[in-house]
Amino acid sequence: MVREYQEPLYWQIRRMVLSHEDADDVLQNTFIKAWGAIDSFRQESRLQTWLFRIAINESLNHLSKKKQTLSLDQTEGSVADMLASDSYFDGDEVQQQFQTAISTLPDKQRLVFNLKYFDEMKYEDMSDMLGTSIGALKASYHHAIKKICAFFEGRD
């Protein structure tokens, strides 16, 4: 199970938590939780969907715990600084700005944005995984895109 799903799970998590060290922690916790809860895994949902759900919950929990230790003012600046100094961030300054803009979204909106924009996930599959209605997901994506565009209009 670990070998088969580690990479897709890792990238889902990494896009949410941004740092490799945090993604490593969350990914390991995801597999440990899955192992502990394997008896409750019901056959009607796919294993991948079930694992993704655990990974997303773990990522969101991690983010909310981390935010409790940062003040609101620090968040945006600290993301930009973190990415600039992160040896496992490959992108140029443009990508750095893009990731900073994405990090300003509320966590759940950011999740929807990542799944739709980067993975081109269908809303039906997203709805199945997150347990949210398709309409709500479409609205969430719309707001996310609008907010990111507004972020750059303010700076350009």
């Binding site: 670990v2 070998r3 580690q6 990479e7 890792y10 990238w11 990494r14 896009r15 490799h20 490593d24 990914l27 390991q28 597999f31 440990i32 192992w35 502990g36 496992y88 961030f89 490959d90 992108g91 140029d92 443009v94 990508q95 750095q96 893009f98 990731q99 924009y117 980067f118 309409g135 479409k138 609205a139 994506y141 719309h142 895109i145 609008k146 990111i148 565009c149 750059f152």
Partner: protein, 122 residues
């Protein structure tokens, strides 16, 4: 009167072209590549790390179960030991009481009775 579902669908239809247009702008400017990297060999090492942590948890769980069982056995043994002592104590107390009662019986004989007994014997 329009239901909520219809209103939501209408809103989605209005938003759709705007969303697609904005999305296209972002794709043109930033693309959709992942700008993240991982340390060399990370995915090769990860399964071993995870299995190691799971094995550690299994050992800890087993240890707790043995500890719980040991505590239970200890409680039962201690309990039965106290019960035995209690029973012994009860028996000892009962014997004491009999001794005291006997002693009282003897002490009921007063000095006059002792004197007359002695004089009768002569």
């Amino acid at each position: 009167m329009m239901t909520i579902d219809h209103r939501q669908q209408d809103q989605e239809q209005l938003q759709q072209p705007a969303t697609e247009a904005m999305e296209a702008k972002l794709l043109e400017r930033f693309g959709a590549e992942k700008p993240f990297a991982v340390p060399d060999g990370y995915f090769d090492r990860l399964p071993g790390k995870v299995m190691g942590r799971i094995a550690q948890r299994k050992r800890r769980r087993l240890m707790w179960r043995w500890a719980a069982a040991a505590v239970l056995v200890g409680c039962v043994a201690t309990g039965s030991m106290f019960f035995e002592r209690y029973e012994e104590q009860q028996t000892a107390e009962a014997e004491n009481i009999q001794y005291i009662e006997d002693a009282l019986d003897y002490s009921m004989i007063d000095n006059m009775s002792i004197a007359s007994y002695l004089t009768e014997a002569e």
